[in-house]
Amino acid sequence: MANLTPRDKKTLRIASIGIGIYLAIFCGWRVWGWMEKRRTDYRQLVRKAEDMKVSLLPYPTRAETAARLMEQFHMDPAKLNKATVVAEASSAIQRAAASGGVVLGPIRESSGRAAAHELATVQLQGSGQVTAVMEFLSRLQTLGYPILIDSVQVGAQPGPPGMIKLTLTLVILDFETWKSTEVPHA
């Protein structure tokens, strides 16, 4: 290998420095761009996390309210089975009537209006003492099924003293078709 002259060495040194500076700037720019992209992504994630944090704020209260209502109605809507809920509700109504001293007469079931999230409509007639009928009415809400009393008719009933005749129209609601809050006039 030929010996390098001082001029060659100087040229090589300058060229090396130039290439080094070019590589430093080029690589530095790439690295900086990569880091900037990571930072932008991270900031977007942070913003998203902050939005999520705000949206999650009411959930503890909502969960607590839902738990309180479930306890009040003795019902967990998520566990209701659409296929069996009408039968189970009808059975529970009859059990409640029997245990409360209300003698039930004919019971008619018909399909409810799907548009109103009704699964079925149950019409029943019964008779019993005033206190028993009142207790039966109050227990209907805590049977553990989404039962809405559509109408109540109370009239005189031939028989022992204090006996009254009761005609009820009940609506069993469908939780699965429930999408949003609907509060009809009541």
Binding site: L45, Y59, M70, M134, I149, S151, V154, P161, T181
Partner: protein
């Protein structure tokens, strides 16, 4: 000695001799050779070598504050003298000494490094009270060079005399004695007067001359003669790093010194020490933190701006630290993005995975709230009817539906009772409409047949009202049962008759 080191673990002690620099901290020790120019200054190569050597010895982190260093310099070029001054307040003593320096020394005080120590106060019979001051002074360049070098190494040096450091080992009652330390190439003599140091001398004669055969005797004789010419005391203490060497020196010197001078060996704390001056400095630190030492100070020109805040040699490390901190400040957001992004993304994914659970909560809550709000208040209405109906009222039929429409058909005794009943229902606030659709007298005008159509108010309005029975009303039937002789509270409606 070790106790001193333990009590002052951060203090560095240094001895600077013409040909060597010895440094110690705790049990660590290092020695460096010094190369000087003909003018007596350190050569640039030597300066760099010493700087790297001291930095390696200290192993100091750049951000740590400067460490205190007590440096004992050689007696050569340093003038040590005692002077009597009138007693002045401490605040004025400095000014008085400056005047004295201008009078006694050829250089102006600004070009000197100097220090003093108050020795005693006395009053001559019939004279004014005076104070005795021990003053040391040297050229400022001597100290400035060492101060600059050590400052660059991260030290905050204070300068004293090595002869005064060795005096820490002197026994009490020195009177007019002297302490001689014989080095390899030169020796140092500290002369006492009235039990306190009075002057010091550097003698260009060392133990290396002993190896020169017959010439050694001649050199030793001239050395002894020089000592006896500058000092007229009676007790000469010889101190050396090695006690054995000191004994040999004493034996040789005693031959040539006048018989009136009694030579003794002065121990530097133990049989072997690396440097008597360093041992003396450590002992001074152990005794009182070095307060009894006489420190030389320079009146260096005051720095301005940022240089006034940071000591010499510390500005560059501070600037480096500031630059590093700035770089960290710029890069921290990027580092945060790189470090925390995976964790944050994982957390967000976990929360998003729970979306179905939140949807279910929303659905259940909406459903249950709707169920509660749409549940018609049949029992409330029945309670209000029973509460408002006058005695003797017969309700034949009652019909209510989810839309709030109530139809009631019955009989009352008089028309006034109908009016009263209606008024009570309106006053209850439960119904928005109370219409007596029909009111007709019965047979023989004894009873009034009525038919009412009512509409209760919406749930949002009813929510603010309280219609339920009071606690007293709830307790009433049970109280009645408990009372003996009272019939049970059963409806008195005869069979087949209206309620």
């Amino acid at each position: 000695m070790n106790a001193a080191v333990n009590r002052n673990p951060g203090v560095v002690v240094i001895e600077i001799q013409p040909a060597s620099l010895k440094i110690a901290r705790g049990s660590s020790y290092a020695e460096m050779e010094l190369q000087r120019t003909p003018a007596g200054l350190l050569t640039p190569e030597c300066r760099l070598k010493v700087k790297s050597g001291v930095e390696a010895f200290l192993n100091r982190k750049p951000w740590r504050p400067a460490q205190r260093a007590i440096c004992a310099i050689a007696a050569g070029g340093v003038s040590l003298r005692r002077m009597l001054l009138p007693i002045t307040p401490a605040s004025q003593l400095q000014a008085v000494l400056l005047l004295q320096l201008e009078t006694d020394f050829p250089l102006p005080p600004a070009e000197m490094a100097w220090g003093y120590r108050k020795v005693s106060e006395r009053t001559e019979p019939g004279g004014t009270p005076q104070q005795e001051i021990l003053l040391a002074a040297t050229r400022k360049e001597t100290i400035a060079e060492y101060a600059s070098l050590l400052g660059e190494c991260g030290l905050n040096p204070e300068f004293t005399l090595s002869t005064l450091a060795r005096a820490m080992f002197c026994p009490p009652g020195m009177y007019d004695g002297a302490v001689l330390e014989i080095g390899t190439h030169s020796s140092e003599l500290l002369i006492f007067e009235k039990d306190t140091p009075a002057s010091s001398r550097s003698i260009p004669w060392g133990s290396s001359l002993w190896t020169q055969g017959e010439a050694a005797d001649a050199a030793l004789a001239s050395f002894a003669g020089f000592i006896s010419s500058i000092w007229k005391g009676s007790r000469l203490f010889v101190i050396s790093p090695s006690v054995a060497n000191a004994i040999t020196m004493v034996a040789k010197l005693a031959v040539h010194l006048p018989p009136s001078i009694h030579c003794e060996v002065l121990s530097a704390g133990s049989a072997e020490v690396r440097s008597t001056a360093l041992a003396g400095l450590k002992k001074a630190l152990e005794t009182d933190g070095g307060k009894t030492l006489l420190f030389l100070r320079t009146e260096l020109p005051k720095a301005t701006g940022i240089f006034a805040v940071f000591p010499a040699g510390q500005l560059q490390p501070m600037l480096k630290t500031a630059a590093v901190l700035c770089a960290v400040l710029v890069l921290l957001p990027y580092a945060e993005a790189i470090l925390f992004k995976p964790h944050l993304a994982k957390t967000i994914a976990r929360i998003e995975a729970d979306e179905s659970r939140r949807t279910m909560i929303d659905r259940e809550l909406a459903f249950l709230q709707s169920l509660k709000q749409t549940q018609p208040p049949y029992l409330d209405a029945l309670y209000l009817f029973s509460k408002s109906a006058p005695m003797g009222t017969h309700i034949e039929s009652l019909s209510m539906n989810r839309n709030g429409e109530v139809s009631l058909r019955g009989m009352m005794n008089t028309g006034d009772q109908v009016t009263d009943f209606r008024k009570k229902l309106i006053d209850s606030g439960f119904f928005s409409s109370v219409v007596v659709e029909e009111q007709s007298p019965g047979p023989n005008n004894q009873r009034v047949n009525i038919r009412l159509i009512l509409i209760w108010k919406p749930a949002s309005v009813r929510a603010a009202m309280n219609f339920g029975p009071t606690d007293a009303e709830i307790q009433k039937p049970s109280t009645g049962k408990d009372k003996p002789g009272k019939p049970p509270a059963t409806p008195a409606t005869p069979p087949g008759k209206p309620l």
